[in-house]
Symmetry: C2
Subunit: 181 residues, 2 copies
Amino acid sequence: MNAFSLERSIEVLSRTPVTLDALLRDVGDPWARGTEGPDTFSPFDVVGHLIDGEETDWIPRARIILARGRSVRFEPYDRFRHHGRNASRTLESLLTEFAKLREANLKLLQSWKLTAAELSLPGEHPSLGPVTLRQLLAAWVVHDLGHLAQVARVMAKQYRPEVGPWVPYLPVLTDHEVPRS
Amino acid sequence: MNAFSLERSIEVLSRTPVTLDALLRDVGDPWARGTEGPDTFSPFDVVGHLIDGEETDWIPRARIILARGRSVRFEPYDRFRHHGRNASRTLESLLTEFAKLREANLKLLQSWKLTAAELSLPGEHPSLGPVTLRQLLAAWVVHDLGHLAQVARVMAKQYRPEVGPWVPYLPVLTDHEVPRS
């Protein structure tokens, strides 16, 4: 159990770009471009998706909440925007871009000096309904960690045929047999 | 699909210590010491377990295979050795120790200049039965990635109560409801 705090959230949010960089920069395409099957994300896709999140999801939604306008309903989020946007990019340029966007967004977040009252302000998720700014920021943290876990899992699965009888001792190989994210 | 190669394996094995360092060094205890429930690993425990692997699992088992003795049966591996060993250690000292052990083990592995014939040499896992050196090394890679995914998942779950209605959109929160590793 870890009660929400902005400081604890930023501990994770600030580490994600350097963690992904450590894991992925200059790895070969068999690791970077492998997936779990049709319509699932490769590590390359995950970094593109995280960039989309910086540009169109978390901070833009926080701004909608903080504007306290008549509507606090979020714009729907396009999970596949990155497919077209990044078709000719390298993984390395995406990692660098993600780190820059994240750094700027965390500076902005910290500049807001959010109070407990502001963290309780309401937003409206287009399909999940009423949420608070605090829940939005907590979801941002968990979203990062979920995609980090996904990158590691997708990479692991590229070696599934190579481990022979070890499969039952390596549960990551049989997680998400029907991909969920 | 990613056919086994020593070079591709080392791409991952060499990145694991710096990746875990980026994610975990100097994070607070709520992230470092949280678990998924009784008898499951915290991120701190995972680093201790990976140290045990360097000292007692992967390279020692590779040596047994390469010795080509009358018995190629591996010693059983103690998954909880780290509990007693590391009770008074800091996460930071474990991260540093893991990086040093891994670096030395990868130097040793590369010094062996393993041939395809050597990679096909047999070992005997105490419960899984006959395996090859190639499968052992592939399992080492997948084991790293599985525990990296686990660290991210365990951290994510510390914020499960904080995300409110976002749970169904964050599948990492409901992975391994009955912990498997």
